[in-house]
């Protein structure tokens, strides 16, 4: 780290007079403008809208102070969504990342057909959310593939509408999320592991280490920075981006069983015409996202 700082310092000294830095700043203005308007702007708008009483996107809005937050924190629906989000994240991330890492490590062993396997594993990343939802909606429906298979092997009693049953809907959403994420992340891990010096693994093997031991005691510590990055990305995607899939699969139901915070934002804004409440939930989600990122970063650094 210190060598990096030194090099940066050395480069800036080489850059010459202050005028050049100003020139560079001018060149970066368009990018800065883009960033401010399209990244910070919406963020500011979210905070601002959360202080409005705004019933419809085409309707009048009026200042509401922090009443949307009072409503949010006094609402059972919010806490139910918070709990569902915690369950979703609490299961998905700890299951997905280790499994994806194992898949990635397995791919680096170049088993027979590994190229085809890479393509197959990466496929979920190439399928749109709507296509994914359609496939799983058909498979998990009352007359779907899963129930058909269960009936075919005489397990009729186990058949159920998997996405519509309160007992199984959230589990199904999580399983579909894992299906999407494990293979995709696994291929990314494999790409990172390819750049690790193979001599390290060979030396460990000569010392009698098993593949399991090499994977977790050598490969994992070496790539822990990348594991952290991917964990953070999957955390953010699950927290913010899974609403689309849930909307298509279960619409958040039955009851509130699959309504996550990100879906709650959509429901309140587009179904219930309560934009202020929706954006108050958005602010809370933003804070959770930020806190989660910091936590993951600290956990990874602690291992480093």
């Amino acid at each position: 780290m210190s060598s990096v700082k030194f090099r940066l310092k050395a480069n800036s000294q080489k850059a010459g007079p202050v005028g050049s830095t100003k020139g560079l700043s001018l060149f970066s203005l368009p990018a800065l403008g883009w960033f401010v308007f399209f990244t910070i702007g919406p963020l500011v708008a979210m905070f601002y809208i959360s202080t409005l009483n705004w019933r419809s996107i085409i309707g009048q809005s009026e200042p509401a102070g922090f009443s949307n937050y009072e409503k949010l924190f006094g609402s059972d629906v919010f806490y139910a969504a918070l709990q569902t989000t915690a369950i979703q994240l609490g299961i998905m991330i700890p299951v997905m990342i280790p499994l994806a890492f194992m898949v990635g490590y397995y791919l680096t062993l170049k088993p027979r057909g590994h190229r085809v396997l890479r393509v197959i594993l990466f496929t979920p990343g190439l399928i749109s959310i709507s296509a994914t939802a359609m496939v799983f909606y058909a498979a998990l429906g009352p007359q779907g593939l899963v129930n058909g298979l269960l009936e075919a092997i005489g397990l009729d009693d186990l058949t159920k509408p998997w996405l519509a049953s309160a007992d199984t809907a959230l589990a199904m959403v999580i399983i579909v999320g894992l299906w999407q994420g494990i293979g995709y992340s696994g291929v990314l891990f494999a790409a990172r592991l390819e750049s690790v010096n193979k001599d390290l693994f060979e030396a460990a093997k000569l010392d009698g280490a098993s593949e399991w031991r090499i994977m977790w005691r050598i490969a994992f510590p070496i790539t822990v920075d990348f594991v952290g990055t991917l964990t953070m990305l999957q955390f953010l995607w699950t927290l913010f981006g899974s609403a689309g899939l849930i909307l298509l699969l279960t619409r958040g139901g039955p009851g509130q069983t699959t309504t996550t915070l990100s879906l709650l934002i959509y429901q309140k804004a587009f179904f219930e015409n309560d934009l202020g409440y929706s954006q108050a939930a958005g602010v809370v989600l933003f804070v959770i996202g930020l806190a989660g990122m910091i936590l993951i970063r600290r956990l990874i650094r602690a291992r480093d």
């Binding site: 308007f37 708008a45 996107i57 085409i58 009048q60 809005s61 996405l163 309160a166 039955p254």
Partner: protein, 441 residues
């Protein structure tokens, strides 16, 4: 960071903030004009060459309403010379319209049902009130008074021109019931449970409904209001409070009793309106609650064995006969602010739909229950026999329960998720009422 950079960043962020705030302020109502002033002065209208229509009805493709729509539109074009830019929209019509309003590119006329989103357009200033226009255009004697009442909001403003109504009875496949030894459609809840036992014993599915969507939600709300008078039901549907209402709880308990007695087909919580229709048409289930719009899909042999009735009621209920729904919130015409500037052309366009031959085509080919006072008997012969039954003999067999849509408003989606929970096995009445009340939270 040097001072110049700090200033630059501060200025950029401040600019974005100001623009955002201005943008947000601007995203309020597009106009606060009163509906009367938006009505426009017809005499001051410039020559209109085209009107823009956003429609839930489709005029292209293999749709039952295509011919009727084309008849009305063609008649308008030939009589006025004004062309029609007709945009077909799907279930997202509400979002599509609101996006165009924000862009200042909205259609002149919107053809859609009165639902949670559209019922807010008048208050938001996107559409105009049509109280005066109904009388001025001579439609006060054409449109049923009850239909106009349903389209009137709490401020007394009529939100649009009602056009399509519906009846929403319970369909009984008498052939399947006979196979189970049942000779008459059940009238009471006890009879329904007896029929369920007989049907299941005969290997026939009893009642099918889309437990996972709006169709199941409406049936659940029909149960919930069994013991409530219409005033109480309207209050509970508007404001929530299912758990606090003893009468609502009695109805919900009746629902739980029916569900636990096996009245609904297995896995009903996973069905949708489409799979409900498919199961009934395939004779996999003997009973379903479905609106008049589903009659076009019933093959003649299914229509022949179907008897329309209502949802049986228990003793002590607020109704003495089985209940069904009817309403006139099906489809109607909204005039937008832009449309108000072309009122003469818009008037001719809307009136072209209220011509007797157009209404007749809607009845005969789309199985529409019109919101008009026309005599439709001559067109009923060409329609599904079920529609004829729905507007004649069935009327004496049932009492009409309160149609919840206009009261539930924007809580509809959350309430549908709550009722989806209710169809699942083992969910208690207390859990159901709590989930329903959460929809208003």
């Amino acid at each position: 960071m040097n001072q110049d950079r700090k200033k630059m960043l501060f200025t950029s962020v401040a600019s974005a903030l100001v623009l955002t705030l201005v943008g947000c302020a601007g995203s309020g109502s597009p106009t606060s004009e009163s509906s009367s002033s938006a009505g426009g002065d017809q005499s001051s209208e410039s020559k209109v060459s085209e009107i823009n229509v956003l429609s839930l009805y489709k005029k292209t493709g293999d749709v039952p309403e295509g011919a009727a729509i084309n008849l009305a539109v063609d008649s308008f074009i030939s009589s006025t010379g004004v062309s029609v830019n007709f945009t077909e929209a799907g279930e997202n019509l509400g979002e599509e319209f609101e996006a165009t309003v924000l862009a200042g590119q909205e259609a002149d006329v919107v053809i859609v049902n009165l639902f949670d989103k559209s019922s807010g357009w008048l208050d938001a200033g996107a559409t105009i009130a049509v109280n005066d226009l109904i009388a001025e255009w001579g439609l006060d004697s054409v449109i049923k008074e009850s239909a106009i009442k349903e389209w009137t909001n709490s401020s007394g403003e009529v939100q649009g021109f009602p056009f399509q109504g519906f009846t929403w009875p319970v369909w009984y496949n008498m052939d399947l019931l006979a196979k189970a030894g049942i000779t008459a459609a059940p009238q009471t809840m006890d009879q329904l449970i007896e029929a369920t036992d007989a049907l299941r014993a005969a290997g026939i599915g009893p009642m099918v409904v889309g437990g996972n969507d709006w169709s199941g939600n409406k049936l659940w709300l029909q149960f919930a209001q069994m013991f409530m008078d219409k005033t109480e039901a309207a209050d509970v549907y508007s404001n929530g409070g299912f758990c606090a209402s003893p009468n609502a709880m009695k109805g919900i308990s009746e629902f739980v009793k029916a569900r636990d007695a096996g009245v609904f087909v297995d896995g009903v919580e996973g069905y949708t309106a489409d799979t409900m229709n498919a199961a009934y048409y395939a004779q996999d289930a003997a009973i379903m609650p479905a609106g008049s719009w589903a009659m076009s899909g019933a093959e003649p042999e299914i229509a022949a064995v179907t008897e329309l009735g209502g949802l049986p009621v228990p003793s002590g209920a607020a109704y003495t006969k089985p209940t069904a729904y009817e309403g006139f919130t099906g489809v109607g015409f909204f005039i937008t602010k832009k449309g108000a500037q072309k009122l003469s052309a818009v008037k001719d366009f809307i009136l072209s739909f209220y011509q007797p031959d157009v209404i007749g085509k809607f009845v005969a080919e789309v199985n529409v229950v019109p919101a008009t006072t026309n005599d439709i008997s001559e067109y009923l012969a060409a329609a599904s026999p079920l529609l004829g039954e729905a507007v004649s003999t069935m009327q004496t067999k049932v009492e009409f329960a309160l149609m919840p849509d206009v009261y539930v408003g924007t809580h509809g989606d959350a309430l549908t998720r709550a009722s989806a929970l209710a169809y699942g096995p083992g969910v208690s009445a207390d859990q159901i009422c709590k989930a329903a009340d959460q929809a208003y939270n």
